[in-house]
Symmetry: C2
Subunit: 180 residues, 2 copies
Amino acid sequence: MSLPHAILTALLEKPSSGLELTRRFDRSIGYFWSATHQQIYRELGKLEEAGQIRALRSAEPARGGKKEYEVLPAGRAELAEWVGRSEEPKPIRDALLLRLRAAAVAGPDAVAGIEKELGRHLALHEAQLAEYLDMERRQFGPDQDSEADRLRYLVLRGGIELERFWTGWLTEALATLRTR
Amino acid sequence: MSLPHAILTALLEKPSSGLELTRRFDRSIGYFWSATHQQIYRELGKLEEAGQIRALRSAEPARGGKKEYEVLPAGRAELAEWVGRSEEPKPIRDALLLRLRAAAVAGPDAVAGIEKELGRHLALHEAQLAEYLDMERRQFGPDQDSEADRLRYLVLRGGIELERFWTGWLTEALATLRTR
DNA sequence: AAGCCCATGTAAGCTGTTACATGATTCA
DNA sequence: TGAATCATGTAACAGCTTACATGGGCTT
């Protein structure tokens, strides 16, 4: 149940149309909460229905016209309430770890195939880490004065450390497999 | 599309009934691929239908009787093929990171509420890390001779390092919030 | 005029979650 | 015998993914 809150957050940062939101979900917000344009349009409809957001320049033609949305007070209140809500961490579902475990029972032929996949993932995570480090360098100076900036920096720090975990573990995994 | 492969892996490690599988998904397999008993029973039906697994002691009564399943050659082949298959890493969806980002726009009142939640998650991840370290100590000695053991140890190493990431980042996040 | 991108959607299907149902066995 | 637990399911729904549809504007 977090997609509506992700959208409310994005719209509070900047009122946007559906497609603009989609773009931003491919960049910043999507780094920790991904969504496709189909999900976003559906959810925008629900949020408008619920009176939490409102379309600007209202009377555009239904098809082909751009609709910008902004958050209403009810939406802001809902988001603030959600932020403080308690929720269990979701159990992990990671296909790569599962694959390794499967390789242990599927026999040695399977192990050769998985090595390539591990290397591919390593490259992807290294690229993501580099991008985060670049964002860190450009967007965050030595001192953040505003509370909001410090929170945003914390989120980025999470992304960085998570990618460091992946690159570290994948490197270790490849080294282990190669010395067999 | 990984649940059937998780089940095949578990059944190859040891033929089991639905409930036994459920138990094991709460322990070892579930540490990186969780599933409820409803999912498991549904999937067991599909796998049997597809000729990848088979029920032992076949003619037990439908209700209340225990059914043990074992993997057929077709199932083993499917798993081996899947292990080598290439797949994009799933985009991240992490509610806690999203919450922090939302807190940045939802105002300072929201920040107070989130601190408690961060502390709660920290305790959970510390407990999980301790459990993994205990497993490491008990199940894996200084030298793993068999390939399968080394793969299983790699998976556990992944779990350990992932929990270290969480405890480290959550500690940093709490420290940052408290010095505001 | 044809092809491309922008922008907003619809529809179908799959996966996962939550709530409930049913019979068998065990133990107080 | 009643309650708890074991064991296997059914049903309904929510969320996400994939494929396709529709119309407008811009370029060549």
